[in-house]
């Protein structure tokens, strides 16, 4: 299945094939879950922070990613847990 990925505020991290706005796609086997998608992105080492995820604009807690089955065409938004601004 093909997923749309939006990486928010992750500069300068930019996986191959992603555009300058952090938008790209990811192909995973049918039946994959959200945890597998996040792992496949090979995000920078998360020292002291975690990555947040929205699945089709709804937040998914980190603890619930494993087992959160994905469907072809799903949109996953990933951003760091910035603590304040």
């Amino acid at each position: 299945m093909k997923l749309t990925i939006k990486l928010i505020s992750m500069d300068p991290f930019q996986p191959a094939g992603f555009d300058a706005n952090g938008v790209g796609s990811l192909v995973l086997p049918d039946g994959a879950d959200l945890e597998q998608a996040v792992t496949a992105l090979k995000l920078p080492d998360d020292v002291g922070e975690a990555y947040m995820t929205l699945l089709n604009e709804s937040p998914v807690p980190i603890a619930d990613r494993a087992g959160k089955r994905l469907e072809d065409g799903d949109e996953i938004t990933v951003f760091p847990a910035i603590k304040g601004g």
Partner: protein, 609 residues
């Protein structure tokens, strides 16, 4: 150790400066900065005093790590009774001033009374004197004040904390600025300084700071930097600054937009971090010009910017044509999406005017947004705006508002009273996005239930820095479990705010990292448990001050809009802020009565009885 054991008390009415021993018992129980300053204020100021009267006091206070080599250890706090809210006010600043003050041999400065005529305070190690400001720097901008003091005293290394014109005119969200563009920004501490006829506190320090165990302290602070410096969070603050947050809140649906009518901004691409890093056509330069770090900081999140030389806002204004302090997330949200403005140059200019005149850009922007809604509702008309269209999105209106607010010209005087007083005056109090009179920061509470509770219970009014529910809020939009997260993080933040480092280190360091450094710097057994107990004690002490000022559980609330009008999009779509589901549990966890007052048992447990 890490303390000089000395404070400077300045009586502006009498014109006296006197050294005084620091109360070591209070240091042991309240640490420094926010905690120690709040203790002194609580002991010396009647909570019911007029914030802008001579009975109020203004306290500048450092932490145990301020002035040391601990990364970001240059912070100071300003504690007073705030004129925007009537609550205790605690405002925290970086830059170089805090470190310099500590290096001059002082831990704290207490300003009391009111000078008969405008003065400034000059501190050079032990030498302290009040000097005339009238005919010299009174009436001048923050930037010109700093320059003039350095020139008069022939020392470019003097550090200056000053009010701008906004503080002189008693704008209720006036800041105390230092090092041009760093600010003790929130709650109107600059208006208190202005009410005392005090223009600036200039300091030059050469004494240094002694720590309890120098070798251990160097080892520990080095270890903590080895954790902080390579982290992605540190790299993000350096590379993107706090502006990285705007795309996050936009994606999440928690970006306050059009005075909180919306939670996402259609024009976000015109003001976000990418826009600020993109070269413009006129001069080939990006607004963003580089990063700036504060005292001992190994992060360097501060943004420096240059406004388009062709932009209408800076024509004939040479002081705005060079590199200046740029948009940070909070200022950008307030003068951008909150006002519906998509002109990044106008937004940068408005923020720069806030620096120049000494105004909190959060409160300024949110107040302008309220005024724009009043205008669209017909409550404010072109009679007030001198013929201008004051609708949402009007960049020229924003620029005009920035120029007249600090100087209190015409409608600017009304804007300088803040959103609550403005909306009350024009008969639409529901347009004020405030808690206890202080304007919202850049997080809509409908998609962030923890932030909703944090805003409602913050001791200085709506604030994003007095609790830290971000990580959980970005994962869960339901209110369950938020009470404990907010309560625990409020205590944690109060401890860090009393220590000396920057709050942004919390993105990487854990509470033990602060305890280790404080323990190496100070005599005494500073454990995680003790530090968190100090935080809880400080939070309750502030609450007691506010209760004494007349605040009750009824004030722990949010604007009707976010309680009743569901979010239109994003993660919180269809939701309102569900305070009623969180507050009872929060009070219970705090050991407070249902009326929001600490119980006798709680006060005894914390040594506050």
């Amino acid at each position: 150790m890490a303390w000089h054991g000395k404070l400077l008390r300045v009586n502006l009415t009498e014109g006296t400066c006197a050294a005084e021993a620091l109360n070591e018992e209070w240091v042991a129980d309240y640490l420094g900065q926010r905690g120690l300053g709040s203790k002194y204020l609580s002991e010396e100021v009647d909570p019911k005093t007029d914030p802008l009267g001579p009975g109020n006091k203004l306290i500048f206070v450092t932490g145990p790590l301020t002035g040391t080599c601990a990364s970001t250890g240059g912070r100071y706090s300003v504690i007073t009774k705030g004129p925007l809210t009537g609550t205790i006010a605690c405002s925290n600043s970086g830059g170089q001033w805090g470190g310099e003050f500590k290096l001059a041999g002082w831990d704290m400065l207490i300003l009391e009374g009111r000078a008969a005529k405008p003065v400034y305070l000059m501190i050079a190690d032990d030498r302290t004197e009040l000097l005339d400001a009238e005919g010299f720097i009174w009436g001048e901008s923050v930037w010109d004040t700093e320059y003039a003091i350095k020139a008069r005293h022939q020392d470019p290394l003097i550090r200056v904390a000053a009010i701008g014109v906004a503080g002189e005119t008693l704008a209720r969200f006036a800041c105390i600025m230092n090092d041009r563009d760093r600010a003790a920004g929130r709650s109107g501490v600059g208006a208190v300084m202005g009410s005392k006829n005090l223009k600036a506190v200039a300091v030059r320090g050469t004494r240094g700071v002694k720590v309890d165990d120098p070798k251990r302290f160097l080892d520990v602070t080095r270890q903590k930097r080895e954790i902080l410096d390579p982290s992605p969070a540190r790299a993000r603050y350096t590379g993107l600054g706090t502006m990285a947050m705007m795309d996050v809140t936009q994606a999440h649906g928690s970006l306050p937009t059009l005075n909180c009518r919306e939670v996402q901004f259609d024009g976000v691409a015109e003001v976000n971090v990418r826009k600020q890093h993109t070269p413009r056509k006129s001069d080939g330069q990006a607004p963003y010009q580089g990063a700036k770090a504060c005292f001992a900081c190994s992060i360097g999140c501060g943004r420096m910017a240059k406004i388009d030389p062709d932009h209408f806002s800076i024509k004939g204004k040479p002081q705005h044509q060079g590199v200046t302090g740029g948009l940070e997330y909070e200022s950008a949200y307030a003068v951008g999406p909150m006002c519906g403005v998509t002109d990044v140059e106008a937004a940068t200019y408005a923020s720069a005017v806030c620096n120049e005149q000494g105004m909190d850009p959060i409160s300024f922007g949110a107040t302008v947004a309220a005024a724009m809604e009043l205008f669209e509702a017909g409550a404010v008309t072109t009679a007030e705006t001198e013929g201008r269209d004051f609708s949402f999105g009007n960049a020229e209106a924003l620029v005009w508002a920035a120029e007249v607010t600090g100087t209190a010209q015409g409608f600017g005087k009304e804007l300088g009273q803040g959103a609550k007083r403005l909306c009350d005056k024009y008969g639409r109090p529901e347009f004020a996005m405030v808690v206890k009179g202080q304007e919202f920061p850049g997080y809509d509470p409908r998609a962030m239930q923890g932030m909703a509770l944090g805003y409602a219970t913050s001791n200085r009014g709506a604030c994003h820095l007095k609790a830290s529910p971000f990580q959980d809020d970005f994962q869960r939009v339901t209110p369950d479990g938020k009470a404990k997260i907010v309560k625990d993080s409020q205590d944690y933040v109060a401890a860090v705010d009393s220590s000396g480092p920057c709050t942004f280190t919390k993105a990487v360091w854990q509470i033990a990292d602060y305890a280790d450094q404080i323990d190496a710097a100070c005599a005494g057994d500073w454990t995680v448990e003790r530090l968190l107990e100090v935080g809880e004690r400080v939070f309750n002490l502030e609450r007691l001050f506010n209760n004494g000022a007349g605040f009750t559980a009824a004030d722990d609330t949010l604007p009707k809009r976010v309680l009743t009008e569901p979010a239109k999009g994003g993660a919180g779509k269809g939701r309102v802020a569900e305070l009623d589901k969180m507050l009872p549990e929060y009070y219970d966890l705090r050991g407070w009565t249902p009326d929001g007052e600490p119980t006798t048992q709680t006060l005894q447990r914390l040594g506050l009885a």
